[in-house]
């Protein structure tokens, strides 16, 4: 089995706020991320596909095709958007790195029909990333 990874970048804003919490609780749990008008990040997304290379083409999945899927499903949906307000898949959720990575996995997984989605790694900054894999567990 071979794994191939494609990287894309997008920039977006978000805010962490749980309406079920009091103002004080939101502040305590989310800190600066609870600032009411939101803030933003340059996200880097690495998407890994696993499979066997096609003997005719030598490719697990045509990277052009993967690039188009990532553009359509992720970049067009999230780039220069407010994740809470403008991305329906995130409505009512706290758009942490973990949660955005899970949403991206759920968007991509059905679209990858050649090879299998193996891992979604989403960097919120150079010092923080979330991984979603197909493993058992959480």
């Amino acid at each position: 089995m071979i794994r191939i990874t494609r990287k894309v970048e997008f920039s977006a804003s978000h805010v962490y706020h749980n309406p079920a919490f009091s103002a004080e609780e939101n502040r305590r749990v989310f800190g600066k991320c609870n600032n009411p008008h939101g803030h933003g990040h340059n996200y880097t997304l690495e998407v890994t596909i696993a499979g066997e290379p096609d003997p005719q083409t030598g490719m697990v999945l045509d990277l052009k095709e993967l690039k188009e899927i990532l553009q359509r499903e992720v970049v067009d949906r999230m780039d220069h958007r407010h994740l809470n307000k403008e991305v329906p898949e995130l409505a009512g959720k706290i758009p942490t790195c973990e949660v955005v990575a899970q949403v991206i996995w759920n968007l991509l997984e059905p679209k990858i029909t050649t090879g299998k989605l193996d891992r979604v790694r989403l960097y919120e900054s150079a010092d923080l990333y979330a991984d979603v894999t197909n493993g058992a567990g959480a």
Binding site: V29, F30, K93, E98, A126, L128, A130, T133, A138
Partner: protein, 142 residues
Amino acid sequence: MKVSLTRRYKFAASHRLHAASLSEAENQRIYGKCNNPYGHGHNYEVLVTLTGPVDPATGMIANLGELDPFVEQHVVEAFDHKNLNEEIAEFRDVVPTTENLCAEIFRRLKSFRPAQLERVKVEETSKNSFEIVAEPGASARA
């Protein structure tokens, strides 16, 4: 679906690779420049990976407001701008290779809750890295 969160931390420290049980010549042969008598230093980078359920109320595996101070206290503050051989009790009699440093960091962080420590990776330089992964199925409490 399994979700993990990885956070990078940095500290700078010095060390000397020298095993008291070996002769001077053997130390020199095995450790080379790393055996130079007064030590040398690195900018270490530590990647800490946690797994666990994502709490729907917070969207988080672990709150960085809790993880950061924990790692700062137990690792960054403890090691930053220190001489690992001279100032860290665990390296009095243990050679502070980055393998051993990685194991010591894992030991210091494994009690973090509610998430589970899954992996510690230490980059000694941009060319060398070392990692320890919790054994599958094993609680990192041991």
